[in-house]
Structures are given as C-alpha cells and as structure tokens.
C-alpha cells in the first residue's frame, strides 16, 4: 500500500476501552492506518468499533472511556496530548464529521442558517452579513435550489435528504482538511442516497480533502472509496484497494459480500456468515 509522503492523519495502535460493571470492554483494539488526501472506507457490522474509531479521531469519545495509542496525529500535531481548547479549534475547522441522521444531529430549536453561521463565526473573524453570504453560497454548493428559504427553516421543516445536505454544508463551510462521514446516507431513502453521495463526492474531490467513510455497507463503500479497511470485533481484519474487493482474502470480508441478496441471483437459502472465534483474536 502506498502511504503518502506526509500523511494527513496517522493512527497507530489505537485502543478505546469502556469500563463497565463487568470489566473493561475494548471497542477498538489496536487499529493502525495512515490517511493521505484520499477516500478511505471503514466497513464493519454494528459493534465492530468502526464508529468509535471515527469518534476517537474526532475527539468525541465519551468522558469515561479510555483512549490509548502509540500515535494519533493530525499532520504534525499530536491529538493525544493536545489541550482540549486546541482540540476544539481543530474540530469543525480542520476536522469535521457528518453524522447519520439529520433528525437527531441538527439543533432542533435553531434555524439551519443560524447553525451554519454559528460554525463559521466560531472559527473565523467574520461579519454577520459576510457569514450569511458564505452560508448561502455553501447551501447552493450542496445543490439546495432555494438557499434563502432553507436558510430560515428549522430542521423539522425539511426532508431527510435536505437535512443531510444542510449538515454537509455546515461541516464543509470552514474548509476542513479531513472529513469523517459516519453512515452519512443510512437514514435516507435509496433514491436520495445517491444524490447526497454525489454531492459529497464532488465536494471532496474539488477541495482535495481526506475522507473517512464509515459504513456497514461494503458494496457502497467500495464504490465510493479508494481504499477499504474491514473491521471485526475492534480490529482491522483486512485492508484492500476498493477496486480489488472481489479478491478479498479474509473469510469475514468474503462472507459479508456473499450474504447480500441481489437481483438476478437465485440463491436459496442465502449463505450465512460462519463466525470463527479466531477472527476476534
């Protein structure tokens, strides 16, 4: 695998542990990868640690959890020892995250426009009118036809697809270098999914951002990303170029690919995953 000369993000031996009454639960167990200005997909089922990996990079791990890593660096800056204040400056400005469901992740009592302007004013010295102009331009960039109208709407007044576009606008307005998208289209209708992915794809390509695309959908990720990491039980079980998905070696990856019903294939019963305990070792 070609690792870029100076990676945008370096993750080495990342571990996220949640203490519980019955002992520690390790959600992420030694994940390592380097990310350049490329599209990296992280795939796994629920509980595989894919979202916790994204959250740890973003600095959104719950307070009671323990994070450890040999190295967790954004460019030259060490994220592990960085004071919370600096981390806050980074978040939203240089590193941004798109979450799954706009219904829950947008502020319900603030108009969409105000939320976007708030992001901008937190990170840049900018007048309110200039911020509004930038927000409107950004809403237009995510292909919202009537940005003026959407600017003054509340999240409950727009559809899921529109809300997700507003979230993309909000996350990209400060021009981040790294974007983490955690299941950005899973809550949307199939026909809307493609539109949103298309917008995301163009913006990421135009702005030369690094993208981490987290999803449970192996096929979707491989069609969208350059490189795919497959996670199982908190570990990376396989890493491969998205184009070579058909040559996947690990039985888990092959099983995931195999168990999806597709149009035109007549397989009754469907093959099911035979989970081997050694995968989780």
């Amino acid at each position: 695998m070609t690792v870029p000369v100076k990676p945008l993000l370096t993750v080495e031996d990342l571990r996220v542990t949640f203490p519980t009454r019955t002992g520690d639960v390790q959600a992420v167990r030694g994940v390592s990868f380097a990310l350049g200005r490329e599209r990296l997909g992280i795939v796994g089922e629920s509980g595989s640690g894919k979202s916790q990996t994204g959250r740890a990079i973003m600095g959104l791990t719950p307070g009671h959890a323990k994070i450890s890593a040999r190295k967790l660096a954004f460019g030259d800056r060490d994220l592990l020892t960085m004071p919370a204040r600096e981390r806050r400056d980074l978040r939203g400005k240089k590193v941004a995250m798109i979450l799954q469901d706009p219904k829950y992740s947008l502020n319900p009592v603030m108009t969409i426009g105000r939320q976007i302007v708030e992001t901008l004013k937190t990170h840049e010295k900018i007048s309110t009118s200039a911020a509004k102009a930038r927000a409107l331009a950004m809403l237009e960039a995510v292909q919202i036809n009537d940005p003026e109208r959407v600017f003054s709407l509340y999240p409950h007044e727009v559809s899921g697809g529109m809300g997700q576009r507003a979230m993309i606008a909000m996350m990209l307005i400060c021009g981040p270098e790294l974007l983490i998208a955690d299941e950005p289209t899973s809550a949307l209708d199939v026909t809307v999914q493609l539109e949103v992915l298309d917008i995301l794809d163009k913006l990421v390509a135009d702005r030369g951002m690094g993208l981490i695309f987290i999803s449970h959908d192996l096929r979707l990720v491989s069609s969208f990303c350059d490189r795919v990491i497959v996670m199982y039980a908190g570990r990376i079980v396989e890493e491969l170029p998205a184009a070579n998905l058909a040559d996947a070696q690990h039985p888990y990856t092959r099983g995931l690919l195999n168990c999806l019903p597709t149009i035109g294939s007549d397989r009754h019963p469907l093959p099911v995953l035979d989970r081997k305990p050694e995968w989780a070792l």
Partner: protein
C-alpha cells in the same frame, strides 16, 4: 389460484392527506408478494390498514373470502393474519420475558397446550428453550427479530405481514432472518406480504412485487421482469439504479 388477500380501492386519509389512494391487490394463497417504495409511499400504511392497526376509510378487504371492515376485527382474523415489525427493539415489551411475550397470544386465543407450543415456537426460530425466560434487552437485534417471528407464528397464521423485517439488522444477520422466513413459509405454506425499501431483498423473497409511490401503486411486476429489466415505470428504473450502488459519473 385462490386469493388469500384481496384489497379493492383501499383509501386511507390522515386529515386531508391521502396516505393510500385507491390501492388494489390480489394476493394468492401461498404466494410471496413484495411491496417496495420509499418513505411516505404508503407501503407501511397499507400493512397497518390490512392488519387493523389503522382503519381505512374506503374500499374493501377480504381475507380468504371473508370481508372485513375498516375498524373491527374478530379473533378469527388474528388467527389468520399476523405481522412482524421493522424495529425489533421497539416491538417487544421491555418488561416481559420471552415466555410471557409468547404466552399472551396463546391465552387470548384459548390454546391449552401452552408448554409444547412455546417450546416448539422457540425451536422453530432456532433459539431453543434457553431463551425462554430472558428479557428482550438481553437479546441481540437478530435474536429479538427471531422472537418477534416466533410470536407471529405461534398462532399458526396463514398470512404473515412483514414490515421491513430486516432493515434494522446487519447484513449477515439479515441473511439468517431471510432464510428463517423462507423456511417457515415452505413448512407452513404461508402467504407473505413483505414490505421493504431494498429491491435486492424483495427480489430474493418474493415472486411478484408492487412498486408504490405517493400512496399509489406505480406498477406490479413479476420477479423475472425485474431481472430482465422488463418494466415500464421510470420510477421502478430509478429504484433499481439506486439499489445498484454509487457510480462516479
């Protein structure tokens, strides 16, 4: 083919909004019939209206030749028609054990051989009696959906309404649940009406499918037509393209 479920000109309105707009279906005994559409297309409303969870304002519904009105349903109806819901986390009572969950329909319908039926129902969905006295929060999503299926099958219904039964589950668990449903259908000669937004799942499970949009049926096609792309509606094509995943263009 006799028709197990016949729906004529069914209309469901919420205030002024027509959630179902003159929908017609005839589903044969032993058939597996799929309904696809996106949110707001009326596919779930249709199942709720058929099952009696929502009332319909116009039209007729008949099950195995017996007509039913919009509101009242008798016990006989629920012996014949059962439903499995989308969200296994929301459709099981959080403070009842599996035993209690499965017991309730049996008591309502006056069954006497309760012990054997509960054990058999658990075995049939591949869980075994070890799960009998657990609460639903002690089960995984796939196990919960198995319990929901066991609860639906325990009354030995003839028609099973499935509202997105696997969309909340991981892909590998989805395959297990789909296999289980197919097995149950073969063993009991059930009639399925399955709703999903996933064309892949519907074409795997159903012989015939209807595409719905805005409360109307856009078209009804056999599975083969989907494979050979022999359909007329542009909307069906859109859904098919969407189901094939992202293409950089």
């Amino acid at each position: 083919m006799t028709s197990a479920l016949s729906i004529r000109d069914m209309v469901v309105t919420y205030d002024e909004f027509a959630a179902l707009d003159h929908v017609n279906f005839d589903i044969g005994t032993g058939e597996s019939f799929g309904i696809v559409g996106e949110s707001g297309s009326g596919k779930s409303t249709l199942l709720r209206a058929v099952s009696g969870l929502a009332s319909f304002d116009q039209g007729t519904l008949s099950v195995n030749g017996r007509p039913y009105s919009g509101r009242k349903r008798d016990k006989e109806f629920y012996r014949t028609v059962q439903m499995v819901f989308q969200d296994p986390y929301g459709s099981l009572h959080p403070r009842q054990t599996v035993d209690r969950l499965l017991l309730e329909p049996l008591v309502i319908h006056g069954f006497t051989d309760i012990e054997t039926r509960i054990n058999r129902a658990l075995d049939e969905v591949g869980l075994g009696s070890g799960f009998r006295f657990r609460y639903s929060h002690q089960l995984s999503g796939g196990q919960r959906q198995r319990i929901a299926i066991a609860r639906a099958l325990i009354l030995e219904p003839k028609i099973l309404l499935l509202d997105e039964p696997t969309s909340a589950l991981d892909a590998s668990i989805q395959a297990e649940i789909l296999n289980l449903l197919e097995q149950a259908r073969r063993d009991r000669n059930l009639t399925f009406v399955m709703v999903s937004h996933d064309l892949g799942v519907i074409s795997h499970m159903c012989e015939r499918l209807a595409v719905m949009k805005n409360g109307k049926v856009v078209e009804t096609v056999p599975r083969k037509a989907l494979e050979n792309r022999e359909f007329s509606a542009d909307y069906t094509r859109q859904l098919l393209v969407a189901s094939e995943g992202f293409r950089r263009g």
